[in-house]
């Protein structure tokens, strides 16, 4: 594996830095535009505070430790929800791929449940599980598990027959077949499912925090909005966007790492 990374290493950083500089320019432009618009007097500071003021606010929150608590709690809920969705979703998907009766039972539930706006169940979750972490995490799992299940099922079903036959032929047990042949072969599709699921986790975490209040980035934004503290609201947006961006970049790094053996790792990508 190490040899593969070395072989691709020389051109990779150069390409990456070129992309990064090219990409940075419009973002900096947007930031400058925001600052100019906010200080031009066409909009009130209430509608759009200066970007610099928002950054100062974030810095202050970081100093008092509030940022760490809020971001930490949101991340904790997101990641616990994500972990449960991944484990549960892969298990359920694998079960559906292997057993006809499991598939018969869950297939209509998944196909009806997937396109539903599950966020509507939020008040029911609160009713059942209270206002604290459990209901928020349950809500996240309810939303984020569906893409994992369908991706796992589709991935396992599209594993090439020849691979399975060869493994069986060479005397692999059912369990070995699942862990060493089926799941790795289905991994690209499963990871695609996870890449759909992770942003959902963060969206639902933020909404649940907004609706229920309390600590967390969403809760802090909701409080700021109630008190008409528009700097706090915009600070929240920047923080949530940053967390979302990092999570998604991390996920695509993990994907590249796990799929080093796969053809797609050789294709150039900006992610």
């Amino acid at each position: 594996m190490a040899r593969v990374t070395q072989a691709t290493a020389p051109w990779l950083p150069r390409l990456a830095s070129r992309i990064a500089w090219g990409a940075l320019f419009p973002i900096v432009l947007l930031g400058i535009g925001w600052e100019l618009l906010a200080s031009s007097g066409h909009v009130t500071p209430f509608q759009l505070p200066r970007l610099s003021a928002v950054f100062i606010r974030i810095w202050d929150d970081a100093q008092t430790g509030e940022l760490a608590i809020n971001a930490g709690l949101t991340l904790y809920r997101t990641l616990v929800g994500f972990a449960i969705s991944v484990v549960g979703g892969v298990l359920l998907g694998a079960g559906m791929a292997r057993s006809v009766s499991i598939r018969w039972f869950f297939d209509p539930i998944i196909s009806v449940g997937f396109p539903m706006p599950k966020i509507a169940f939020l008040p029911i979750m609160v009713l059942w599980l209270g206002f604290f972490d459990v209901s928020k995490i349950a809500m996240i799992v309810l939303d984020a598990i569906f893409p994992v299940v369908t991706a796992t099922l589709a991935g396992l079903n599209s594993v090439e027959r020849e691979l399975i036959w060869s493994a069986r032929n060479m005397g692999a047990s059912e369990r070995e077949l699942l862990w060493q042949v089926m799941l790795p072969a289905a991994l690209p599709q499963i990871l695609t499912g996870l890449q759909v699921s992770l942003p959902l986790c963060l969206i639902v975490a933020v909404v649940a925090e907004m609706a229920m209040g309390g600590y967390g980035l969403g809760g802090a934004m909701n409080t700021a909005s109630r008190f008409a503290d528009s700097r706090g609201v915009f600070a929240g947006i920047v923080e949530i966007a940053a967390v979302g961006y990092c999570l998604i970049k991390l996920m695509s790094l993990i994907r590249r790492r796990l799929l080093l053996w796969h053809q797609e790792a050789l294709e150039p990508t900006t992610a």
Partner: protein, 247 residues
């Protein structure tokens, strides 16, 4: 008919299990009112017009937001594929904002436009635009060079090529992007209405929940869920029709 029954039997089993568990008192009827009572509450809500009035308000918001998102987002995506400079300028911004959890925008849209329709429409527009943009961009970028060259060499103007070649070949991915957008529209609609609104299905759920009329609350929750499901199915049928020429 019979195969459909066997296929959807698990849902029926779940419904029966719900009714039995609630009737036998295994869980408190506050936490889980029996399905039959929920249905009765649903009929009441329809009869006194609350469900329909709020439902129409919600659908209006979702529809307006989606139409704007599809029109502007789709045009932006195709422009990104057609003009390199647009892509260089807008591409990084799309990549920056795409992973952003759109629910974070709920308080800002309220800050700008208040509690009414405007803030919901803006939120749904902003939240649903990027999946459409990315779908249109990928689709238009993937249109075959040969087709474009042939059309050009046969004397089609650039605009004509855009309309007659690029747009149709972008269609499948564009339509997929719109499907994601529809799902997102429902999520954003319900969450923004739950958090701050005075009418709409989401605020009706919140209102009934705060009042303790849980049977009616369950009825509205199920209505919203089924609306989302029905919208997706209807859209899938439409997509199949639109894409018939590809077969």
């Amino acid at each position: 008919m019979k195969s459909a029954l066997i296929r959807y039997l698990p849902l029926l089993i779940l419904a029966c299990a719900w009714e039995t568990v609630a009737r036998l008192g295994l869980v408190s009827s506050l936490a889980l009112p029996p399905l039959s009572k929920v249905m009765a509450a649903w009929l009441d809500l329809v009869a006194d017009g609350e469900l329909i009035g709020n439902g129409l308000a919600s659908l209006y918001r979702a529809g307006m937001g989606l139409v704007l998102a599809v029109a502007i987002g789709g045009a932006l995506g195709i422009a990104m594929a057609w003009w390199r400079s647009v892509n260089l300028l807008v591409g990084p911004l799309v990549e920056l904002f795409y992973p952003m959890p759109k629910s974070a925008l709920i308080p800002v849209t309220v800050l700008w436009l208040g509690f009414g329709d405007g803030s919901k429409i803006l939120l749904i527009f902003l939240g649903c635009m990027l999946p459409v943009t990315i779908g249109a961009f990928n689709g238009a970028r993937g249109s075959e060079r040969v087709l474009i060259w042939s059309a050009r060499s046969m004397g089609a103007s650039r605009l004509r090529v855009l309309w007659d070649v690029v747009l149709p070949s972008a269609m499948p991915e564009l339509l997929n992007g719109i499907r994601t957008a529809i799902a997102l529209a429902f999520i954003l609609l319900v969450s923004s209405e739950l958090i701050e609104a005075r009418k709409g299905l989401g605020s009706l759920i919140g209102f009934l929940g705060n009042n303790g009329s849980y049977e009616a609350m369950f009825a509205v929750v199920l209505t919203v869920a089924l609306l989302g499901f029905a919208a997706d199915r209807a859209y899938q049928l439409l997509m199949q029709r639109v894409l018939q020429w590809r077969e």
